[in-house]
């Protein structure tokens, strides 16, 4: 028996979500009285995972798996889960990871819970807390099958060091036919993506026009943050659709979400509810976002944001 976690990597390096799923897997393994095994695919060095509790790392190296493919990756996770006699499989909620859990669950005939936000409240019956209704509620879900697959929500459990003396074993995985072929990958380089960002700086119609986004980008740069926007802004073509945050846009589960000139429509709030700390800068003290925010400044973005950039630069330099 073991708990298997898939530790996702990009260009050989582990994502933060990978360290979070290993931390989570370690906790579940302790609750079940077993060990956590981490699976890596084409990661250069797995030893970092020992720091977070992985006693064993199963390392798959295969050039056919250089590009993420949901069915192929799920087949590898399934094969390793069987080889390791896993009773619980944990994957992260990265843009790719999200699609693994359901396919692995079908492959293993396992019950599946996605959007899980906490360690199991009980392991018999196996009960997990999940986000639901666009973060307006949680469901306490019992996974009734012997084998269980968990999709862990990003930034929900946190990264916890739990150093162990681990070992890494190479594993020859079978690469299945997936039916789809990657033709071209286009990435915006040099920018923090919303999916990876711990801090997101977002702006809305209060900025009056796309020509005013320079200060939003500068603030994001100072904070090492990603930039985002409200739906009207992307609809108006001021910013790309890939930056639209909200119910039908991108969900944000950042540690800090700064909303500038965004009133806070319910659909926007649904997309950012999972963020831990929310800051609002808006001229309208009645803007609904103030009810959802932790900190707020009633003021003009054109006065406040440049001051904030200046002071943050000094703060970072100190």
């Amino acid at each position: 028996m073991s708990v298997l976690v898939f530790a996702e990597s990009s260009e050989g390096k582990f994502k933060k979500t990978a360290l979070e799923v290993v931390s989570y897997g370690k906790k579940v393994a302790e609750q079940l009285g077993t060990n956590v095994v981490a699976l890596t695919i084409n990661a250069s060095d797995s030893s970092e995972l020992y720091t977070y509790g992985a006693e064993k790392v199963v390392a798959v190296s295969n050039d056919s798996l250089n590009t993420f493919n949901a069915k192929q990756y799920a087949a590898v996770v399934t094969e390793v889960a069987k080889a390791e006699n896993a009773t619980v499989v944990v994957v992260d909620s990265s843009i790719d990871g999200l699609y693994l859990a359901p396919i692995v669950a079908v492959n293993l005939e396992a019950g599946c819970a996605s959007n899980v936000v906490a360690a199991p409240s009980n392991v018999s019956p196996f009960t997990v807390k999940r986000k639901a209704f666009s973060n307006k509620a949680f469901s306490n879900t019992v996974i009734a099958t012997d084998l269980k697959v968990i999709g862990l929500a990003k930034n929900s459990y946190g990264i916890h060091e739990n150093a162990v003396a681990g070992t890494t074993e190479a594993f020859e995985a079978t690469v299945v036919e997936s039916g789809v072929k990657s033709e071209k990958i286009e990435r915006v380089t040099g920018k923090v993506t919303i999916a990876d960002a711990d801090i997101v700086v977002s702006a809305g119609r209060g900025l009056k026009g796309p020509e005013n986004w320079g200060m939003v980008e500068e603030l994001a740069e100072v904070l090492g943050a990603a930039t985002a926007c409200s739906k009207p802004v992307s609809d108006l073509g001021w910013r790309p659709h890939s930056e639209h945050v909200g119910q039908t846009g991108k969900p944000v589960a950042a540690n800090l979400y700064i909303a500038i000139g965004i009133s806070g429509a319910i659909q926007h709030l649904a997309g950012i509810n999972a963020s831990k700390v929310k800051v609002v800068i808006n001229t309208d003290p009645e803007a609904p976002f103030f009810k959802a925010a932790d900190y707020g400044i009633v003021g003009d973005a054109f006065d406040v944001v440049p001051k904030l950039i200046e002071k943050l630069k000094a703060f970072k330099a100190s």
Partner: protein
């Protein structure tokens, strides 16, 4: 081309979320239900295929009779016929098993499903459906073209896009981008009248069992009031974010 669009019947995005029966059931009282927004993008794309390239568009929902107004709305948008699998599912796997049976019996070439439903947000059904039917699968799809049996699609990846080629049959997990929000169809009067006469077939479930069950729901703890900082005192905001919230 035979297209199947999976339609979830979900609370309107502005709905208040409450629970009844000791927090074990979603309280539908006063809640308006709509076509799941992600499914609506897929339905609009399916209509484009129907009109420009020739295709039949069937919609399917796994749910009770209360979902039929939502299916009629999808028919009014232009789908040809509807199937309702008559069972109230309790998890994504159960939905996927029922949909897989419909897909296998119907000989569909392309199955379009929203990447997630706006109620339980599980993002599980499209992947499970692809696994159960052994169809090809493209997740997070933001663009799709079909030429004969050859498909070119774009999916969102971290910080960019990936262009993918595939053959039919195929399951798509679709999202905004597969069509834009401004292109979504609104049923007109003619469509609404015609929808009343279109076939809506109610079929019995194959008995796919759920593997999870919801023990209870809970709402997040009430949030404290916002801490306001004076506009000319951003130092205080930085101090709060550093010392109190510990996020910078």
């Amino acid at each position: 081309m035979k297209i199947l669009v999976c339609i979830s019947h979900v609370p309107d995005t502005t709905s208040k979320i409450n629970f009844t029966e000791s927090d074990t059931k979603f309280d539908t009282n006063g809640v308006q239900f709509v076509i799941n927004p992600y499914d609506e993008f897929c339905l609009t794309r399916a209509m484009w295929f129907k009109e420009k390239q020739g295709a039949t568009v069937t919609i399917v929902n796994v749910g009770g009779a209360e979902t039929e107004p939502t299916l009629r709305k999808a028919l009014a948008i232009g789908a040809d016929d509807a199937i309702r699998v008559n069972v109230n599912p309790t998890d994504g796997l159960q939905v996927a098993k029922e949909l897989a049976a419909v897909v296998k019996n119907g000989g569909y070439d392309l199955v379009l499903a929203g990447k997630e439903s706006a109620d339980y947000n599980g993002q599980m059904v499209p992947g499970m459906l692809a696994a159960l039917t052994d169809f090809n699968f493209i997740n997070g799809c933001v663009g799709i073209e079909v030429d004969g049996t050859t498909v070119s699609a774009t999916r969102e990846i971290d910080g960019g896009n990936e262009t993918i080629s595939s053959s039919l049959p195929l399951v798509i997990g679709g999202q905004k981008g597969i069509v834009e929000e401004k292109d979504l169809r609104i049923p007109n009067m003619r469509g609404i009248m015609m929808a009343r006469k279109k076939p809506l077939q109610v079929i019995d479930p194959v008995g796919g069992e759920a593997s999870t069950n919801v023990q209870s729901f809970e709402k997040p703890a009430p949030k404290g009031a916002v801490k306001l900082v004076a506009a000319d005192n951003v130092d205080e905001l930085i101090s709060l974010l550093h010392n109190e919230a510990k996020v910078i």
